[in-house]
């Protein structure tokens, strides 16, 4: 293990404190955006915690991500109002267009698809949020347009 790596430093910081595995994993994800396999194994070694236990924690909490998320994070609200207004169909359309499931990223790492429970603007239901930008009164036929909008945006940034 590289002693200067982020994981080594985080492990050294939390090593002696009981019950601090979640804090250590938070720190890794805070910097990297997800918890890579190499960091998880380094934490296991550095903190003396079996890797099996670390993955039990990582996969129990929805918060932790095991893969690098896509550049544009698409949050489809499936809270009560949005769901009743048909956001399940919008979610299905995103899955179909992107070829990924919930909680997954596209192989080119451009998009990450997730469902969330209520984003606090039920008046606009059904709602999707992409990297902080809110799209209200969604219908499945708007999906392709939104994806193209972000593709265009990333292309221009290059």
């Amino acid at each position: 293990m590289d002693n200067n790596s982020l994981a080594a430093q985080v492990a050294a910081k939390w090593h002696k404190k009981r019950g601090s595995l979640i804090m250590a994993l938070h720190e890794i994800q805070g910097v990297k955006g997800y918890v890579p396999w190499e960091d998880a194994t380094a934490i296991a070694e550095g903190m003396g915690i079996p890797l099996a236990r670390i993955y039990e924690v990582l996969t129990f909490y929805n918060f932790f991500k095991l893969d690098a998320p896509g550049k544009a994070v698409i949050s489809v609200c499936t809270g009560t109002a949005c769901y009743l207004k048909g956001n399940d169909k919008v979610l299905e359309e995103f899955k179909k267009e992107l070829g990924v499931g919930e909680g997954e990223s596209t192989p080119d790492r451009m998009f990450h698809l997730q469902s969330v429970r209520c984003v606090g603007c039920c008046g606009l239901a059904p709602v999707c949020v992409v990297n902080g930008k809110t799209y209200g009164r969604m219908t499945p036929d708007q999906v392709r347009g939104i994806l193209n909008e972000w593709r265009e945006k990333f292309k221009n940034e290059e």
């Binding site: 396999w37 998880a40 079996p50 890797l51 099996a52 993955y55 039990e56 990582l58 996969t59 129990f60």
Partner: protein, 592 residues
């Protein structure tokens, strides 16, 4: 003591007893799919509900209280249990006809008891891929009911931490860390997960078909050997009581299956004792710095050493296991003696163990005859299956003898299958090698029984030998930590000689042993301490009644050295009967 009423019977039990355990005093087996005497309650399945003062609670994790009124089964309770069972079944494939555990499955038992006919609920079973990567055990998460026994056994009893939960809720699955193949994890293939699994989610890697094909080939000479622990468990599949020693019938069954030569791993055990005692005496008298010495006949323990206990490698006995010694000699010494071309010989072993399947391909030392020394290692369960497939009436078979020369054994050889047995056998012979005299008392009571770590001090001509016997991998860790602490502090070693068996009770409760229900047996199926004691008795009794109880007096072993090997611990013996150990890492190749 706490007094309570269970189904209107007065029951008195120690404080802290759970209702589930207390109910046995009222002759009631409360149904459960997750609680097993070897593990702490996980409150996972929900089948064990009872009414406590009118309220429905889980009996596996509710301790008794003074004056409690418990009802364990009324119409409402039965109804709720049936619903719980239907919910479990709605997430389990309806595939009993093609499941290897069929007839030995606790979930199937339960479905029969509750008279489940047709599925009322839609089936939610997910099809996960089977993990066969270890080629020793097969993990099929589709059949898992998330009872938690295997995870509890793997993590806390064995301290191996190969198995774990992945995800949560309906998506929960038991896998190695992060869903990688088990073979890349610290799994030592002990199979205790399989021994405790109530369903067919973790079973042995079945290789019976390979063996049938060898038996069918007229150009092949088939040689078979059976391990000590097989003979005291095989009968359970044919209605004999736990622990009944059925060596003679097992030989007869093997001949009827078509094996050309029937040998006994107990011969290999005697040979192991002779080599290992010699190795210990050398280390003890000539190079005390090479102590402690660990026994090496348990492949799961060898696997653990090579993967996670690298600082202990130099203290390992270099002796191969009895299985591997017989394998090596079958294709060399015996093939020569009987004028059989080893290329046309196939050696099969029958073991109580799933890890033995891995041992036969562990390193190139396992092919010292120029061929793979042992071609297939079957578990007891697989052999029972073959006997049934062949329609052999096991119960009425005559008692037969093993073939010569790899069939003769002493009482010391047969107790290799039980915790404390290897140490006892080795001490008898080591004493003789050091003093030139036989021990007066051949039993060492301190190292018998199911205590996790047993210790004894044996005086040999004024010199004291401190020994430890550990079984169950969690206990092994404690012994290792004591040794490391003494080494670090520069203090005298707590032990000079340590016997290790990965499974609680030793090989008699190995991961490949039968799991039947006999009349009058309290649930669950599979291994419990009661069964461990009975199987142990079966082996210990054979030793006590044996004409020869000393490995160094096995005449076939003596002949072997005279005719073929030369000196005990000599060059030829080293080539065929000893091995090397290597550091192997886990988790090094994550699939991307």
């Amino acid at each position: 003591m706490v007094k309570l009423k269970i189904d209107n019977f007065d029951v008195e039990v120690p404080a802290g007893t759970t209702i589930l355990d207390a109910a046995r005093q009222a002759h009631i087996d409360i149904p459960t799919l997750c609680k097993h005497p070897d593990v702490d309650p996980s409150a996972g399945c929900g089948m064990c509900i009872v009414k406590v003062n009118g309220r429905i609670m889980r009996s596996c994790c509710t301790p008794v209280a003074e004056g409690m009124q418990v009802i364990t089964g009324d119409a409402e309770i039965v109804d709720v249990r049936r619903t719980v069972l239907e919910l479990i079944l709605s997430n389990h494939p309806n595939a009993c006809l093609t499941c290897i555990r069929s007839g030995h499955c606790e979930l199937q038992d339960m479905a029969n008891v509750f008279g489940i006919e047709a599925a009322k609920l839609p089936n939610l079973t997910k099809k996960w891929e089977k993990d066969e990567s270890t080629k020793a055990i097969v993990l099929d998460p589709s059949k898992c009911i998330i009872c938690g026994r295997c995870v509890e056994v793997c993590q806390n009893q064995q301290n191996v931490w190969a198995l774990s939960y992945l995800n949560r809720g309906l998506a929960t699955r038991v896998t190695a860390a992060g869903g990688i193949p088990l073979a890349d994890s610290p799994c030592i293939k002990c199979g205790q997960c399989s021994a405790h699994c109530p369903t067919g989610a973790i079973v042995e890697y079945d290789e019976t078909q390979k063996v049938w094909e060898m038996l069918r080939d007229p150009n092949i000479t088939t040689v078979v050997q059976i391990a000590p622990a097989v003979r005291v468990a095989i009968g359970e599949e044919f209605g004999f009581d736990f622990g009944e020693n059925l060596t003679g019938k097992t030989y007869a069954a093997l001949r009827r299956l078509g094996f050309d030569r029937v040998f006994d791993t107990n011969f290999g055990a005697d040979l192991t004792v002779v080599e290992e005692a010699t190795e210990f005496v050398r280390r003890f008298t000539e190079s005390p710095e090479s102590l402690p010495m660990f026994t090496s006949c348990c492949p799961a323990w060898v696997d653990m050493l090579e993967k996670t206990q690298h600082d202990m490698i130099e203290y390992f006995s270099t002796c191969k296991s009895p299985q591997s010694m017989v394998g090596a000699l079958a294709k060399t010494y015996y093939a020569e003696k009987a004028a059989i071309d080893p290329a046309k010989m196939r050696v099969v072993s029958v073991m109580p163990c799933t890890a033995k399947k891995w041992e036969i391909v562990r390193s190139k030392d396992m092919s010292c005859s120029g061929y793979q020394d042992i071609d297939v290692s079957l578990t007891t369960r697989e052999l029972c299956r073959m006997i049934k497939q062949a329609g052999i009436d096991f119960r009425s078979l005559p008692e037969e003898e093993a073939d010569s020369p790899l069939g003769e054994y002493s009482g010391a050889g047969t107790i290799f299958g039980v915790t404390g047995g290897v140490m006892t056998a080795a001490l008898r012979t080591a004493y003789y090698y050091i003093t030139g005299e036989e021990l007066g008392e051949l039993n060492f009571k301190e190292i018998e029984g199911l205590e996790g770590i047993k210790e004894a001090e044996i005086e040999i001509k004024g010199q004291k030998v401190k020994v430890a016997v550990a079984h169950g991998c969690g206990n092994i860790q404690i012994v290792l930590d004591r040794i490391r602490a003494a080494q670090a502090a520069g203090e005298p070693l707590p032990y000079q000689f340590v016997e290790v068996m990965a499974c609680r009770g030793g090989c008699i409760s190995g991961g490949g042993q039968p799991r039947v229900m006999l009349p009058g047996q309290s649930k669950p199926r599979g291994i419990t301490d009661d069964i461990r004691r009975k199987r142990s008795r079966g082996l210990l009794c054979e030793d006590e009644c044996a004409q020869n109880r000393l490995s160094h007096h096995n005449e076939s072993v003596k002949t072997l050295y005279k005719e073929y090997l030369g000196e005990i611990g000599g060059e030829k013996a080293h080539h065929l009967l000893h091995t090397h150990y290597f550091i192997r890492e886990c988790y090094n190749k994550k699939e991307s």
